[in-house]
């Protein structure tokens, strides 16, 4: 394959199709996460936050903003991407994708690109919503965007893998509900891991989500639980892992082709 015959029209067709699905379900896609985030602010930011001191020099209500954005970014990337590829498998329309002159790279680019676009947009909307509740100053806007995009891309890839692996709709919920949400809550979305007893702090360092949230929070406030370099390399590592899995899936035809 050469880059010359890259099927850009095919990629655009899939991307456009996926974004049209997003527009059709705009209400669920946008309103729900924004509502949820606002509720978190009311409960954690105002009710609990008013009784809490600052965390690492940052007011508690502001402290939880990066974690909340990440939480939405994870779940939305996963559900967008997994649903996007699972649904054609479920309805049978995947035949067209498999018989089209698009490479696996192009398929991934289109589906993951669309899913990531949606969740990046969503992340920015949540950020805007949050700034209505708390005054926010972003210290490293470039890195904030970089972490946002990288995380959205990584979890969209992860979601794509789940969508291909899933044999039923309940499978789509399985990993997000059972693994990602708990890891996020335990990953320092609402607290600094310094607040944990030392033993738990060590355990927490095995949670990959810690690094994602920590890096993102560093971009906001310049303080972090772990070094930003480690955060970045862990995020890139996870991205690479997902990319490797997707490559393997297409090479073997796993759950796509007989």
């Amino acid at each position: 394959m050469s880059w010359l015959d890259f099927n850009r029209r095919g990629v655009w067709a899939i991307y456009h199709f996926e974004m049209a699905r997003f527009r059709r379900t705009l209400l669920q896609s946008l309103v729900t996460p924004v509502m949820t985030t606002s509720l978190y602010f009311v409960v954690f930011g105002s009710a609990i936050g008013s009784r809490m001191t600052q965390v690492g020099g940052v007011p508690y209500a502001a402290f939880i903003v990066p974690g909340l954005i990440m939480l939405s970014l994870f779940t939305e990337s996963l559900s967008n991407a997994s649903f996007g590829i699972y649904f054609p498998k479920f309805t049978g329309t995947i035949y067209e994708l498999l018989s089209a002159p698009v490479s696996s790279l192009e398929i991934v680019l289109a589906y993951v690109g669309a899913a990531a676009s949606k969740s990046i947009l969503l992340g920015l909307i949540i950020l805007a919503t949050a700034s209505l509740f708390v005054p926010l100053h972003i210290l490293h806007p470039f890195w904030m965007l970089a972490f946002l995009i990288l995380t959205a891309a990584t979890f969209s890839l992860f979601g794509f893998i789940i969508g291909i692996w899933a044999k039923g709709f309940e499978h789509l919920q399985f990993i997000p509900m059972l693994i990602v949400t708990p890891l996020t809550f335990l990953g320092g979305a609402f607290y600094s891991i310094d607040m944990l007893p030392p033993a738990w702090r060590t355990v927490t360092l095995f949670n990959p989500v810690v690094y994602l949230i920590s890096g993102f929070r560093w971009a906001f406030f310049g303080t972090a639980d772990v070094g930003v370099g480690i955060s970045l390399s862990m995020t890139l590592g996870f991205f690479g892992l997902c990319l490797g899995l997707v490559t393997w899936i297409f090479r073997t035809g796993y759950r796509l082709k007989n």
């Binding site: 394959m1 015959d5 029209r9 199709f17 049209a20 329309t93 035949y95 067209e96 698009v102």
Partner: protein, 313 residues
């Protein structure tokens, strides 16, 4: 001979379940022909199509579509191929217009609203172009799938059981459409188990059974070669044995001696029947009724598949 537009060489497929769906199939499709692939359910028709279209990976063998290897040069090969699968699968929430244009884009072609309009008009879908697919009837959905397959102007079109569960009107439309496509030079490969469909449409026929292609023949030749005509004479008086004077026609005595049956190839000249009747008149054998019957493709097909079963049993 002209270079085949599709060349299938030694194609085999074994599924993980151990089922061997195809066993070393060789087939060449000529440019511009309508080829009907006949076979009972589970014979391997859909597997064969799925491999050519890239949905299933072959275990062995090579497929060349319009000069392009379907694996090594899949982009070029797939651009030439259109597929209408057997199962009804559509993007229910999309409009007809959006889904057909999507297909064209997916296959890497530049937008061409005039072409899409032509396709939709040919399929009587133009009035429905703004409707969501979920509001359409089953027959209309099938038309949408055909429109999607034609959106990128393929040169080879696969129709997998195109008229299964389709009403008479749509079936007639479909046949007209297929003939129209052939006139434009599109090669059409259809699978069916409606023999009448193959008989009506195909230039050539292939019969597949248990993963093996047991016969490929021009339809006319096939009908001539395997087609038999039968003349049945209902006798006024039953007879015990066929008189020796009628020996040259190799008649069979049926229905307790009440019927005489004469089988002959349609290829032979037809002077034998008057001769037979004349001789019977001379012998004083009277008959009260007669009928002739030509074997249909269905008879040929059934006899092929059953002899095959007998042979492998």
């Amino acid at each position: 001979m002209m270079m085949p537009v599709l060349s299938i060489q030694n194609l085999s497929k074994s599924y993980a379940s151990g089922l061997q769906a195809l066993k070393g199939v060789n087939l060449e499709i000529r440019k511009g022909e309508i080829f009907a692939l006949l076979g009972p359910n589970g014979a391997g028709k859909t597997t064969l199509i799925s491999i050519v279209c890239g949905i299933v990976t072959a275990s062995e063998g090579v497929v060349i579509a319009d000069g392009h290897d379907i694996v090594r040069d899949y982009r070029a090969a797939r651009t030439k191929i259109g597929l209408v699968p057997q199962e009804l699968a559509t993007d229910t929430f999309e409009t007809v217009w959006a889904t057909v244009n999507f297909s064209r884009g997916l296959f890497g072609r530049a937008p061409d609203p005039a072409h899409i309009e032509r396709v939709l008009r040919d399929l009587s879908l133009w009035e429905k172009r703004k409707d969501r697919i979920m509001t359409l009837s089953g027959g209309m959905k099938r038309r949408v799938m055909i429109a999607k397959a034609l959106a990128h102007e393929p040169e080879i079109l696969f129709l997998d059981e195109p008229t299964a569960g389709v009403d008479v009107e749509l079936r007639r439309d479909m046949w007209a459409l297929v003939r129209g496509l052939r006139e434009k030079g599109v090669t059409i490969i259809l699978t069916t188990h409606y023999i009448e469909e193959a008989e009506e449409m195909a230039d050539r026929i292939g019969v597949i059974s248990k993963g093996e292609l047991i016969l490929v023949e021009d339809k006319a030749t096939l009908m001539k070669k395997l087609g038999k005509k039968q003349l049945t004479l209902q006798l006024q008086e039953p007879m015990d044995a066929i008189p020796a004077a009628l020996g040259q026609w190799q008649l069979a005595l049926k229905a307790n001696g009440n019927e005489l049956e004469y089988s002959f190839d349609t290829g032979e000249d037809h002077t034998e029947i008057p001769a037979l009747l004349r001789r019977m008149g001379e012998l004083g054998i009277a008959f009260k009724d007669l009928n002739t019957r030509q074997s249909s493709l269905e008879d040929i097909f059934v006899s092929l598949v059953t002899t095959r079963k007998g042979a492998t049993a």
